[in-house]
Amino acid sequence: MEEKKFYVKDFMSTRQISIKKTATLKEAVAVMITEKTNGLVVTNGENNIAGIISSWDIVKHVVPDYLENEDHLSSFEAEAVFTSRVNEVANDSIENFMTKNVHTAHPSDTLMEAAAILAEHGIRQLPVIDENKKYIGYINRTDIKRAIGDILNIN
């Protein structure tokens, strides 16, 4: 029996959920809610990847700096601060707090390569780019799980 090879291109999703880097926090939250996702690829005008924005980045941006690393004080913060902070940062450009250092995969990469990156950095998905560095889709941990299922003959 010939051994089956596992490549990113065979398991990736070509659905593109992205947002322009000029978008605001409010717009990013709107896309995440309609697309039912926690992560968006941020692109510049030419569909090149400029970063990734996750709901994690948004949560961290809403928490004021003085409360980060302050588990002793957060329970004392005024109740109104959550609402006022959200309104305050609603129009901030996502470019200012997105993750800029993005790991990517190519369609021709082996699945082990992609899996290793996901495992090393504890991330959920990798954007996939073509030879012109254009964003064409993504591969996530669910896709890797499917491949594992394939090998183990689990249907």
């Binding site: 700096d65 588990d71 002793h72 004080l73 004392f76």
Partner: protein, 428 residues
Amino acid sequence: MEIQLNAVFWFTLMIFVATYAIIISEKIHRTVAALAGAVLLILLGIITQEQAVEGIDFNTLGLLIGMMVIVTIAKHCGMFQYVAILASRLGKGKPLPIFIMLGFITAIFSAFLDNVTTVLLMVPVMFVVANNLKVNPKPYLIATILLSNIGGAATLIGDPPNILIGSAAELSFNDFLVNVAPIAFLVAIITTGLLVIWYRKEFVVKPEAQAAIMKFNPNEAITDKTLLLKSLIVLGIVLLGFLTHGATHLEGATIALTGAVLLLLLTLNEPDHHLKEVEWTTIFFFIGLFILVVGLEHVGVIRFLAEQLLQATGGNMVLTTLSILWGSAVLSAAVDNIPFVATMIPLIKDIGALSGLNLTPMWWALALGADIGGNATIIGASANVVVSGLAQKDGVPIGFWEYMKIAVPMTLIGITLCSIYVYFRYLI
């Protein structure tokens, strides 16, 4: 020994001035700049490596490292936040008494903790309390800066310049407590009073805000009771060590490192994490500075400056001491007070050797000028820079001139009070 104003003299001075200029310009990180200057002095053969190592004050470094380890472990139990939240409760949700108490707590914390650690603990408290009171946080933030620097002047361990001075001049914790703490305390009271007058319109009582504060339960701030107990025991031992080291002759580093080791033993934590939290960049900054100053001493620059200062003051005790106080204040407002004090220490020692004047008042003048002078500008001390950075990020930017408008008069009044104190206590 006659000072040779030769090429080596000027060249060393040039390296030193260039290093200072780079530190002030912030083009290169101050630690890298200081280490580069230090290494250059050794590479060029101006001083040997042995001389460089001899110039490093390991007592200062040990004291700093020991206190850093203790504080990084102890702050995780929430005791400092507990005290601040308790004060807000005791202030019954009224902005004015809360302002006064939090200012006072900042000064007290700062007397025992490093100023930057103090402001990192107090700024979040100030924001949370001001948000609950629904008042402008700015007066609280400015009070945090001013009182952390003033409180830091009060004790041997309150501010790195004091550690440097205490170590070099062999002045004990109690020497600082008896000689510097009273005037630091007075300056803190006057400063708080003036801030209250200045910001009197900001302290508006709001009933719903009062209710929010009265709901505070300080116990919620304590996240780890066992750690709290261990930290209190160790802090108690360290304080006792400092209060008695005039008699026991234990050096500051021995006491602080004993406390650090004890707390590490008691918590049995992975030391990796706690030791990483030590501000090694600051420690290496000190090492670089110590070596640079050795170079200056070695070629006679320090001696030369001491002679010039004595010539200018005619060897008059009052004039020399007060010039040190005011000179330190003005220079510390513009440059980091640590390199300044590191340079002034051998200079004052040379003044003693050349003139036979009593140096003790000069040490107090140096400490007060360098610690309190840093208040005058938003870049005058590390604590100021940290507070303004946090304030900026959280939507309450403190402008350079806006800050000076209030801080310069406060600093002038503070230094004037110090001058009167030093004059009447030591110079007549």
